[in-house]
């Protein structure tokens, strides 16, 4: 029976790979279980080059201003997340993860070699940080 999943390769943007120093942001917190669920969800809908693909979504800062800037990502795409993870492309690729420019900028997918690497991915994302641009009442100065 043929694989009816969609090919993720066709959703990869043709653009220069982000620099190793480029900042990667993801709304959190994440634990192993939901991250595995998210990775499995991607694999249910997509394959990569005809094979299983386990990955999670992130946003990569590509500009100092505009929609791909850190401030814009934190205040729009991730405004519902009071806490975020912040790492770099180089940190992820050094640990063996692939960072693919998928769908619409500044969205990227971090692809794991196997689903077993979820715990390494959690460690690579580092500690939770407050999102200064999250929505909700702001405290009086």
């Amino acid at each position: 029976m043929s694989d009816v999943r969609e090919e993720l390769r066709t959703r990869i943007r043709e653009e220069l790979a982000p620099a190793n120093a480029a900042v990667v942001i993801r709304g959190g917190p994440d634990t192993l279980s939901p991250l595995r669920s998210h990775a499995r969800r991607l694999n249910r809908l997509y394959m990569l080059d005809g094979e299983d693909v386990f990955g999670v979504s992130v946003f990569v800062v590509q500009d100092e201003i505009g929609p791909a800037s850190e401030r814009s990502i934190l205040g729009s795409k991730l405004r519902s997340y009071p806490m975020i993870y912040r790492t770099t492309v180089g940190q992820l690729t050094t640990l063996g993860f692939e960072v693919l420019a998928t769908f619409t900028s500044p969205h990227f997918t971090v692809v794991m070699p196997t689903l077993d690497r979820v715990d390494d991915l959690v460690n690579a994302f580092g500690r939770l940080l407050p999102n200064p641009y999250a929505e909700g009442p702001k405290e009086e100065p």
Partner: protein, 84 residues
């Protein structure tokens, strides 16, 4: 923790630019209809979302979600003020 109507990774967008997830993961799929306002995400990271559309695919039915402004707590306070 908040119980969500439909689990989703609110970081996850597809070519539509909206958050996507599978309908069959919903607590009660019958409430997931275009235009409906639902709670999506995870119990740790819930958000109020609008169901944009529902798309049948060979691997399952996809739900597109638009994350609406405001926190769950803000919606709770609003409903309290309204006496709902």
């Amino acid at each position: 923790m908040t119980r969500v109507d439909i689990p989703a990774d609110l970081n996850s967008e597809d070519e539509s630019g909206f958050v996507w997830t599978f309908l069959d993961e919903a607590h009660d799929p019958s409430v997931i209809r275009p235009g409906e306002v639902v709670v999506a995400g995870s119990p740790l990271t819930p958000a109020v979302c609008e169901v944009v559309d529902i798309v049948d695919k060979p691997t399952g039915t996809i739900v597109h979600l638009r994350v609406l402004p405001g926190t769950i707590e803000q919606y709770r306070r609003l409903l309290t003020r309204l006496g709902a």
